[in-house]
Point group: C2
Chain length 220, copies 2
């Protein structure tokens, strides 16, 4: 028997209205915003880089990189010729709708699809609606198949889950079936895409879903 | 040229006094508290399990597992026969000194060394003094050698850095020399221990440091 102590929650969110109004504005401007979340080091930037390259000519993609410091991610994305901007949060652990609006005003994208690469964090970003049309998360294989048990809010909130770095499977005890079962217990309708942005395996299914959701939004 | 937008910081910490007083009390009780921080999935529990096993008979180790949900980590630690307790933060992204005090009161450890396994997060835990005598962080090799650039506060705050999962080196582009250089630019005095809790490589250097710091504290 493990004794479990419940500590009180102090985080509150008051930005739901801001988020809803930003989402409406973006819809009117024909911009489809995706909020991409994950732990640090799960490969958000690598995934985005590959996605941008694969979809060149099919759809215009813009990227807003949020980070507490550094601009290494925006530099990588910029090198691909995609519209990108780096947003610093000065130590803040998530993006909210107001911050997303400020960043988008500077980016002023001509893109069809804009990714917000949120702060690397499986907790705080899940609590704040950014105004995005879809929430997508990455779980990389080295992080372990127990993460849905430990960070349920994040898995609950997302429309799609990308299980990345599948090429490194021989090195890690990650049971894909167990992971999927744990995720579906929390979120039965989530779409799950195992893939490797390094080898390209599984990328097409994720990219097809992305295009399909964008077209759904456009024709809504 | 990347345009960088600086957003304002809203996080404040008011628990420094609580932390200092908890640290004094623990010192008087002969308990050496270590705050162990990392991203989700970097292997905190695996590292602790191996450390507890290796040091059996030399020192009594207790563990307070903090998590936003689940008790999978405390179950693993408990199976090793170590004193352990699970603390839930109800979605909160870090532990502060008050929460640490509440958890320790329940654990009521007879241990010489107590680890606080903090919430998996490279941002928020760095901002709150828990009352621990030392701060230790893990960076696992799959997370990438750019993390010191992206999460500088965490690297700045720690006394020791464990670079883990070195056994998976063939699968990842992680340059140990580059990582160390980036860390030392932020924190010149940090101790760095590359290791694999799976194979045992490098564990002894970390454990020797742990024992040495504990003895330093005891004889202070």
């Amino acid at each position: 028997m493990i004794k479990v102590i419940e500590l009180k929650r102090t985080v509150t969110d008051s930005n739901d209205r801001d988020a809803a109004s930003l989402r409406r504005e973006l819809t009117e401007r024909g911009i489809f915003l995706l909020n991409l979340m994950s732990a640090p080091g799960s490969g958000k930037t690598t995934l985005l880089s590959r996605t941008i390259t694969d979809l060149t000519g099919k759809v215009r993609i813009g990227v807003m990189e949020a980070d507490i410091a550094s601009d290494v991610d925006a530099l990588s994305i910029n090198a691909l010729g995609a519209e990108s901007i780096q947003v610093h949060t000065d130590g803040m652990c998530h993006m909210d709708a107001g911050m997303t609006r400020d960043g988008l005003a500077e980016l002023n994208p001509k893109a069809d699809i804009v990714f917000l690469e949120n702060i690397g964090n499986l907790i705080c970003p899940a609590e704040f609606d950014t105004g995005a049309h879809r929430n997508v998360m990455i779980l990389s294989l080295p992080e372990g198949d127990d993460k849905p048990l430990k960070y349920p809010y994040m898995f609950q909130k997302c429309d799609a889950l990308l299980i990345t770095k599948t090429d490194a499977a021989p090195y890690f005890d990650f049971d894909l079936a167990v992971a999927e079962e744990r995720v579906r217990a929390i979120n039965p309708t989530i779409r799950i895409f195992p893939l490797s942005a390094k080898t390209g395996d599984g990328m097409k299914d994720w990219e097809d879903w992305l295009i399909q959701e964008w077209e759904k939004q456009k024709n809504a």
